[in-house]
Point group: C2
Chain length 342, copies 2
């Protein structure tokens, strides 16, 4: 009772005294098999508890019905929500999803991408690691014409489909909102500018200032990795300036929260004395006190879109000639931390 070799179509065939081909065709509802035989076979399959071996089928069909996902870290609200969206669509379309996290390490990302390739995923959805500055590993896929969809962290160099938000507008809207609320000296905590995302947001920030005739002060722009510590360090530095800012547009909500905690501690009133706005609408942003204004990106929908696009590409015989870039809308969520005007 240990040699539980699964039952195969051959076992069914033997029982019924027919050929395995017929069983295979019957199970796949091939019109060449008569109705009667089909029923007999299906009944037998059920009776014997037959479970198809997807591996064998995959090998023969050169298709795995599997999508690979690469993200820096699964355990982050944006990514897990995105993945949730992908999984929903993928499941409905009959695809499995293999997930790997790069931990923001280029080396691990490379390994993962190779592994996913060897596993012959039908398509790939990826957000680059923080370290990623070369892209050869993705060529594996493009060379074999396996579709890729990048999202979030993307680079223009990549010839592939992309799902992004309009980062320029993010920076612009956030900054202009602060201006409209009457803040005068608006700082910006930026992310690593190797990433386009952050460069664009910064451009938006500058553009909003310029448009509203607010002089740009380079002291008010700080570059970091947007962690909690970074936020704390940044706000300390900013408040230590001869002319400290009275508002900050933070590259994410995490750093905005860190700033808020510090400002509260040193007795600065938010939003009366100081305005804060973040990005991405983390779950905590709504429930902290004061609640944090932010720009919400449609994480789940981005995952849905990514999966839809990828699957469409996988299943269409003639691939899109152009590489699509889908820009998803962001939404300003005004909360207490930036609501100085009534």
């Amino acid at each position: 009772m240990d040699h539980k070799s699964s039952i195969t179509i051959h076992d069914i065939a033997r029982e019924l005294n027919i050929s395995a081909s017929t069983v295979s065709r019957a199970l796949n509802d091939n019109p060449r098999i008569s109705k009667g035989t089909k029923e007999k076979i299906k009944a037998k399959a059920l009776e014997m508890g037959y479970q198809p071996n997807t591996i064998a089928s995959n090998l023969r069909n050169q298709k795995t019905n599997t999508i690979g996902i690469v993200v820096p870290l699964i355990n982050r609200h944006f990514f897990s929500t995105f993945i949730s969206g992908v999984e929903d669509v993928a499941f409905a379309a009959g695809y499995n999803v293999i997930i790997s996290q790069s931990n923001d390490l280029l080396e691990k990302e490379k390994q993962i991408v190779h592994s996913l390739f060897s596993n012959r995923v039908d398509g790939l959805i990826a957000s680059l690691s923080m370290q990623t500055n070369e892209f050869d590993h993705f060529q594996l896929f493009s060379k074999k014409d396996i579709p890729i969809v990048f999202f979030d962290r993307v680079v223009p160099e990549l010839e592939a489909h992309k799902i992004v938000v309009d980062d320029f507008m993010v920076g612009f809207k956030a900054t202009e909102h602060l201006i409209q609320q009457g803040y005068k000296r608006i700082a910006h905590l930026a992310g690593p500018t190797v990433l386009h995302t952050y460069r664009d947001r910064m451009s938006g920030y500058r553009a909003a200032l310029e448009k509203n005739n607010v002089p740009i002060d380079e002291d008010l722009v700080i570059y970091s990795r947007l962690t909690r510590i970074d936020g704390q360090d940044a706000i300390k530095r900013l408040m230590a300036l001869p002319q400290p800012p009275d508002a900050v547009f933070c590259g994410n909500d995490t750093s905005a929260l860190a700033m808020m905690v510090y400002l509260k501690k040193i007795g600065i009133k938010i939003p009366q004395d100081f305005g804060l706005i973040g990005f991405s609408d983390e779950p905590f942003s709504e429930v902290v006190t004061p609640s944090i204004s932010t720009l919400k990106q449609p994480s789940f929908e981005m995952g849905v879109k990514a999966a839809e696009l990828l699957i469409q590409e996988i299943e269409s015989k003639n691939r899109l000639a152009e590489h699509l870039t889908i820009t998803m809308p962001t939404e300003l969520v005004q909360r207490e931390s930036s609501s100085r005007l009534k």
Copy 2:
């Protein structure tokens, strides 16, 4: 330029005028191949950009190096953190992770489990859906001796390994903590009692009350699904009682937060007039005001343990006769919402 059939070991063999067997053995560092030949082959493989076809290998080896995960929803802090832990260990051990979400639907869970089986995952890690009250679909695995590790939502009926927290102690510690802080009428917002988890926590709650000679009042126990709405409804009901409680142990942090928001709104002071403690230490619990006391479960470590146990089972020739139940420690995180004593 469209028939980009991958290069196989046969292609390498042809180029080198040797047999495919030799190539296979060389690539796998089989001692039967001479050093010189190995080097020649590996060099050629690299030159030709050979990428092994894992599918083919899997089929032949009857092993996929893949672990299946089933969770209700990826996009939930506990689950995504758990998965992150699994992925870490799995990757290091050379396993891929296929993730599916049941959306708390029994039907979807069944489909997923079948699909993962057909994909011949080497092992399964699962948390049951809220609806799950039958377990035949898991028999597929046990019958073929494929190891399963359940976590979080488990049921005693299942003959499989389990990773859990000591829910009784959770309830007990939370309740006793409130008692020690001087609260007198302690309510409990419980989850669906079909799940053992919640039954055990309730037992802990009752035990703590009994031990401290606090009479148990059934009006103070409310059953729900622990959503935000549930929390809000529950606290309204509780506060409308002739003798409302002065503290609540909530089945999770989400409902605790909902309660807090309501209590603040109606002007009740936390923790002076009312104590709150939740469960699971959501990211927001630390940063809301007042911060929410809670019991922290080691999500990531649970994932690590689950993966380690599963992989060990997969790779050991003789399986453990016994089914292990690993109980992970929880930690009381005392924060403002329950800190009445200085």
